[in-house]
């Protein structure tokens, strides 16, 4: 079975283009192969994509999940291939499900553009950033090992070059927009180059990237915690920088109302539903954020209209706590 040997296979999402057939797609990856092997691969694709009832009928914009042996995943990417984060099966399944639910071609185009952006924002994406970097760090370690094996004479130049190219391509497609976090606008192959400078370890650049990926994963994890506190921190700073008593109180009640309203809506949503996928998780996060903003603004209005005589900031000692 193809999918059972998961360590030797890459999960690829392929967006069918006009004129594509399963045989043509397989040829794009495997090159010329015996008919029997091609039929086995077609059977496997059908098993992985139950919506394909007839292998001779696939449609443009349909997304196919395929397990391709790593040795056939060449350095240059295939035209219909979509970027896959290293969430492996789970991520591929989630994207494929969302894709099947999108009705029109425009919706699909929009989804493919929005998905990485959505994954790059919000609290839920903090989890994803952490997991993606953690999961891909071994690829860079493999790159260092390959170089050391090449220097020791265990790998030929061609083999080493091929493996390096493959890792760079894999990293580029798996990290997607997150690559920018690591190297800004520079090319991955340039960032992961072997150092030729005298007195420096040749693998210094790659090791530096390994460290950076580990740090970003750690920051992403902490980032969520920090984000939760940022609102209150900003409010405290604003209170400290305001002399007007009324303003201090308005900022305070807005922060308190925002925190309470956001949490209340978040708990109410979780009580009713549990997000099924990443998109659902982002929607829950966004609803909580919107509720937080709305309740904060609402509380401020109510305070100004009905309670402006009460100096809550002084009574609760917040104005003493938040000082320059």
């Amino acid at each position: 079975m193809l999918t059972q040997q998961t360590t030797d296979y890459d999960t690829v999402l392929y967006r069918v283009r006009p004129g594509d057939t399963l045989s043509k797609i397989i040829h794009g990856y495997y090159g010329r192969i015996p008919v029997q092997q091609r039929n086995t691969i077609i059977d496997q694709i059908q098993t992985d994509n139950p919506e394909i009832k007839n292998p001779h009928r696939i449609f443009p914009d349909q997304v196919l999940k395929m397990a391709i042996p790593q040795r056939y995943c060449t350095a240059e990417s295939h035209p219909g291939e979509m970027p896959v984060f290293d969430m492996g099966e789970q991520y591929a399944k989630a994207v494929q499900q969302q894709w099947q639910h999108a009705a029109t071609s425009q919706e699909k185009d929009m989804l493919s553009t929005l998905t990485p952006i959505m994954l790059g924002t919000g609290a839920a994406s903090m989890t994803m950033v952490e997991r993606t970097f953690k999961a891909n760090t071994p690829l860079l370690t493999e790159m260092v090992q390959n170089y050391e094996a090449y220097k020791a004479g265990d790998l030929r130049k061609g083999q080493y070059d091929y493996r390096r190219r493959r890792i760079v391509t894999q990293l580029k497609s798996r990290l997607g927009p997150l690559t920018r976090i690591l190297d800004g606008t520079r090319r991955q192959s340039e960032v992961l180059r072997i150092s030729r400078a005298k007195g420096r370890k040749p693998t210094r650049n790659i090791r530096r990237q390994i460290g950076r990926m580990g740090r970003v994963a750690k920051y992403a994890k902490a980032g969520g915690v920090v984000l939760a506190g940022v609102g209150l921190g900003l409010a405290c700073n604003e209170i400290a920088n305001t002399d007007d008593r009324q303003k201090k109180n308005e900022i305070l009640v807005e922060a308190m109302g925002g925190l309470a309203g956001g949490l209340a809506v978040g708990t109410a949503i979780v009580l009713m539903f549990t997000p099924v996928g990443w998109i659902g998780a982002l929607i829950v996060g966004a609803s909580t954020a919107i509720a937080s903003i709305a309740s904060g603004a609402g509380t401020r209005v109510v305070y100004t209209a009905k309670f402006s005589k009460f100096d809550i900031a002084s009574v609760t000692k917040v104005s003493q706590l938040c000082r320059n």
Binding site: Q90, A123, A124, G257, G261, L271
Partner: protein
């Protein structure tokens, strides 16, 4: 000090109770999350109780808190949680939005110490209370915006 009318008092009560409950739940959840992840992850955090995407999602902060909330609902009120889960998992309007402990039976619910059970019950009640008070608070804000300004 100026007298407050009934509308203002109602608003103050709703705001204070939502805020206090939110803070209590936040701290409660942090503590229970630490305890329950260690205790229940090896037993419950797997397929088919969670689907593959959720196993990836709920593995790290902050989404892992949703998993802890689910554990507490299940341990606190197993029959009610499983009944509601089964309804949302099968209902054609909600099955794409919710997936909780699919196929779990009462006999599959892990047995935990009575203290943990009580803590989970208390959490679930507080969670429900915050949701109700929160909704009332939002209704109040909406009503205030429409008719009092």
């Amino acid at each position: 000090m100026e007298e407050l009318d009934n509308i203002a008092i109602l608003g103050a009560v709703l705001f204070v109770s939502t805020f206090v409950l939110a803070i209590v739940i936040l701290i409660y959840l942090l503590v229970m999350h630490k305890i329950l992840c260690r205790l229940l992850d090896p037993i419950l955090f797997r397929e088919p109780w969670f689907n593959a995407t959720q196993l990836a999602m709920f593995d790290s902060w902050p989404l892992s808190f949703i998993k802890s909330m689910q554990y507490m609902f299940l341990i606190g009120f197993p029959a009610l949680t499983l009944k509601f889960s089964s309804f949302t998992n099968k209902n054609r309007f909600t099955k794409r939005l919710s997936y909780r402990f699919k196929g779990m039976r009462l006999t599959d619910v892990p047995d935990v110490q009575p203290a943990i059970k009580v803590a989970c019950k208390v959490y679930t009640i507080l969670h429900l209370l915050l949701s109700i008070v929160g909704v009332l608070f939002f209704l109040y804000l909406g009503w205030f915006g429409l008719f009092e300004l």
